[in-house]
Symmetry: C3
Subunit: 103 residues, 3 copies
Amino acid sequence: MQKEDVINTAFEIVAYSGDARSNLLLALNKAQAGKFDEVDALVEEAKKSLADAHRAQTTMLTSEARGENVDITFITVHAQDHLMTTLLLKDIIGTLLDVYRRN
Amino acid sequence: MQKEDVINTAFEIVAYSGDARSNLLLALNKAQAGKFDEVDALVEEAKKSLADAHRAQTTMLTSEARGENVDITFITVHAQDHLMTTLLLKDIIGTLLDVYRRN
Amino acid sequence: MQKEDVINTAFEIVAYSGDARSNLLLALNKAQAGKFDEVDALVEEAKKSLADAHRAQTTMLTSEARGENVDITFITVHAQDHLMTTLLLKDIIGTLLDVYRRN
C-alpha cells in the first residue's frame, strides 16, 4: 500500500471507531436515564460502524501478511488503538447496560 | 531480535490474549446466567494466559531498551493492542462480575 | 522530533496514564467498600493525569501531521496503548461506579 492510502485508511478507522464509541457511550447515558427503548438502535448503529472500521484494519493486516510494506506511523498506531478499545467497549456493553437494566 | 522472531512473538501475544479475552467474556456470560460456580476457574485461566502474553511483550520491550532494533510492523502493533485491551478487561472484570453478583 | 524526545515523551505518557489508571481502579475499590466520599477526588485526580498524557500524545500527532518524522518504536506504541485503554476506563468509570452506587 502507498503511504497515502495507509494514512487515508487510518483516518477512516478513526472516524468509524469514533462514531461507534460515541453511540455506545450515548447508549449508556440513555440507559442511565431509564430510556431503554433508545438503547438498542444506538448499539446496532455502533456495531455497523465497527464492522466498517474492522474491514479497513483487515485490509492493512492482509496487505502486510502478503508481504507488502505497510508504513507504520503515529496515526496508524492511533487508529488501531481507537478501533481496539472501542471493540472492547462493544464486548462489554451488554454487561454495562445490565447495570441499569437490573436496578 | 530478527524480524521473524518479532513476528512469531507477535502472533504468540495475539493467541494468548485471545484465549484470555474469550475466557473473561465467557465468565461474564456465566455470571449473567447465574452460574457463579464456573466463573472463578475461567478468570484464573485467563490470568495465566495473560501472564504468558505479558512475558512475551516484556521480551520485546527489554530487547528494544537494550538498544536492539525491534521492527514495528502492523501485526506487532495489533498484538500489543490485543494484550493491552485484554489487560484492561482483566482489571475491571471484578466490577463487571459484581453487576451480576449484587443482583 | 528527535528520537530521544520521542522516547522521553513516550515515558511521560506511560507515567501519567499509569497514575490515572491506578487512581481509577482505586476509586472502584473504594466504591466496592462503600467509601463513596473518597471516590470523586480520585476520579478528578485521574482526569488531570489523563489530560497531561493526552497533551503529550497530541504533541507527537501534530508533529507527524506537520510532516516531521516521528520514530515509532515499541515504547511509543506501548505508551499510546496505555493512554488509550485508560481513556476507555475513564469513559466507563461512571457506569462502573454505578454498579456499587445502585446496590
